[in-house]
Assembly symmetry: C3
């Protein structure tokens, strides 16, 4: 595994399995039953050149739970870069200040460029239309964890990916990671014009998976194990299509009725969030809130142990964790980590 | 006491007394004589959807002094909410990342709505015209602490509330908490149109307190124990009144001359801050700076132990504090915590 | 040494030497070989009223590496000050919340005014055209460290200061500190109109140093030990000069060709950063990247131990550090702290 985490392309199956095993060992800490001090004294530079409060706080909290400290930078500018400083200089300087860097940037490739100049591990926290590897890793971690919980084997599992499959960065990274696994069945459902890029379909097929497309959700999906829904953004539509946005996207809505009528009682629903809850957005329906099949909050919860695993691995402390665990002194709600009535 | 701290309305006298007792036990830490590690590993989400640097830093520092870590968010947007995410989703996600949440938001009721979806304790750090309960608690803590220092009983004390009593969120919360106490005498002085709302006057009277109004400060208040002054905001005036703002508000200025001529040598002056020091603002006068009767900085100092008490109580570590105290190694000014020549 | 660090003017030679000795003892921590917990429980208020991401993170990381916690404030406003709060009130309130304050502010003198009202140590992180003493201290620390590494005595060293010597805050502070040392030879090279102010030239001369000016870099500087280059800002030029900015400033460019042809193989190049890498900026050339003579990143690296030294000294924990050192558990790149192929 490389010294940085820039793209899922650099990960092999063993890397993913290794990170998942570390994430599992992080659960007692992520669930607030144990604390560790293994990264005490270490400093994370959490550099968000583009706002993403949720991702920023998730990385921040994960580093803190390992005992480290965090320097946050948010907003669209890095003051010295506005004065003409190169990414090389900024990167090299930051590497002298901190022990690891998470960077989010609106321009594809900028995080990799940044990583070239620094001596410390860099994690891509999202570079525009490019990559967001920690999201894909937490998605795969969620799938393996949910299958284990339900006592189902992952081999042969049927996954339905729906929504914007053309521009959705998360589904591209997810499908690449899933392609490393035992043969799966993957069904793609998206509005016309927002289909999964052919090279990704070919990649998945070439690795022995069964991959098909369906025009909409108006048929039976009762053998689907996991639905991964993504948001369709109005701005992706042409002006002409945009007028009938609500009409066109209503065929792709995952809601309680769809789950009850078309799927099985154990079909899980995932989504990379945020979901757009505004009227007419036709994103994943809020009528599933509280339903145990809705795994979206278990999914975000899993971001903490997976991001802890990424830090622990890149900073090579994964084998020190168990030596340094102590009990949590403060109150933790008994339901914690077992939310949404799912257990 | 509830699992969240959303409003002073949910607090009974025992709750307030309990928090004050915890705050007293926090003083050695707040005054930098001791450190604790009791919240080590815990993470606070300090979510300020509205800027309030002072309050944000006060909560942040209080959590750090208990040994915890803080993820700050400042400014007017939460990036995922701008994409249509509901308060429910944001709240539920944050609850998976952090162990407690402080939230400030410009809209009344939003913090309570946020608290409904999360599993972790939520503290209202101010929701627009609504509540700011930690401010009221530190005000009551200051009053009890100052009375104890001066050897005076709180029962029968005379408090003068002046300034904008209509829109001042802090005086509304304060008077509610004070109404839980032994019978007091409360005098209200405000410009016409900015009077205390009648339902609060009635509440206080119904609980056996003596409550009166006076038209201005041009009479003797020599038996007043505490003056609680608040800022009158020019924007509260009608256009017509606004022209004579300075003239109208000069009758309500608390300054050294007023204290010397109309009050007693032990009359204390409090203010929720910030005070407007610009010429013509007619806020609490700066000519009292350095005067021991000016308790405003002892009051802000008290924000740290009271906010520590709130965290310690909600996270149920109040009984672990004394087991985990160590001496401070760094330099602390000898005058610390005894400022303003008051001792 | 004073209780605050507001200006280099207040420092004598013994103060500088003392801080350098502490910085040397901080190196094992700054280089991630050791961690300390000596400031555990202490809180820094890192108040940046003006954006300076690099400096903010450097102070933040330095405080964290001593075991403390940091409350950051960035951007151009402090919300309560926008409501008319005086610097006195803000300062006094902050002093009750935190144990030390770093403040950056666009107005000269504002940090000193701020320091008057607070009980805790205040460090000037840059006040507009005024002072930035920690930068000057890390520059002197870099010079002494590099000379020691090269086995050269500092007495009699030849320093070349070039670029904007009129408005460059850092060269003014640096030359004041250098003037406290054994006799040096200092050569000044700047475009017409951007010369070092005469009172600083006189100060340096009056303290026994040999100080000269040269019109440009088109001659031999083969006995120069250190070149300190600074950025020439286009906005400092008159409209007339601005047209020929690139032409006028190209005579002052420090690049590999200049070093190879005019200087010696051990001539070091320093720069306060950021350097403007945009075409036509004529700042310090990027063609020196990777050259061991380029000391600019060793210089920024040195900001951490020097800022740790400043905190340790002002908070009086410098003698506790060695008692509380433990080994770092996480991975540190073997090249760390010996970058740029310089060793």
């Amino acid at each position: 595994m490389p010294a940085h985490l820039l793209s899922v392309d650099s990960l092999c199956r063993d890397d993913v399995d290794h990170l998942i095993r570390i994430a599992e060992r992080m659960e007692p800490i992520a669930q607030r039953r144990k604390v560790t001090r293994v990264l005490e004294g270490a400093v994370l530079g959490n550099l968000f050149f583009e706002a993403s409060t949720r991702t920023r706080i998730s990385f921040n909290a994960a580093f803190c739970r390992l005992g480290g400290s965090v320097c946050d930078t948010t907003g669209f500018t890095f003051s010295s870069m506005a004065k003409g400083e190169s990414l090389y200089d900024t990167s090299r300087v930051m590497g002298g200040y901190v022990d690891a860097i998470v960077m989010r940037h609106p321009e594809q490739g900028s995080v990799a460029e940044f990583a070239e100049a620094t001596q410390v591990p860099v994690i891509n926290g999202g570079d525009g239309p490019g990559e967001h590897p920690s999201q894909a890793l937490l998605d795969v971690y969620t799938i393996t964890k949910e299958f284990a919980r339900l006592g189902k084997p992952l081999a042969g599992a049927h996954l339905l990916l729906t929504g914007d499959l053309k521009y959705g960065r998360t589904v591209h990274s997810l499908i690449k990671l899933l392609s490393l696994y035992e043969p799966l069945r993957i069904t793609l459902v998206s509005p016309p014009g927002l289909e999964m890029p052919p090279h990704l379909v070919d990649l998945v097929a070439s690795r022995g998976h069964r991959i098909e497309t369906r025009p909409n959700l108006a048929e039976s999906f009762d053998d689907v194990d996991v639905i991964y829904a993504t948001r369709i953004q109005r701005e992706r539509f042409t002006a002409e299509m945009s007028e009938s946005f609500a009409e066109l996207t209503s065929d792709f809505v995952v809601d309680r009725d769809f789950l009850d009528r078309r799927c099985s009682p154990t079909t899980l629903v995932m989504h990379p969030l945020p979901r757009d809850s505004r009227p007419g957005a036709n994103d994943l329906s809020t009528d599933l809130n509280g339903d145990p099949r809705l795994a979206i909050f278990r999914q975000t919860d899993n971001g903490i142990p997976m991001r802890m695993a990424i830090f622990a691995h890149l900073l090579q402390v994964e084998d020190l964790i168990e030596k340094d665990l102590r009990d949590v002194g403060w109150f933790v709600p008994p339901s914690f980590g077992v939310d949404d009535a799912s257990f």
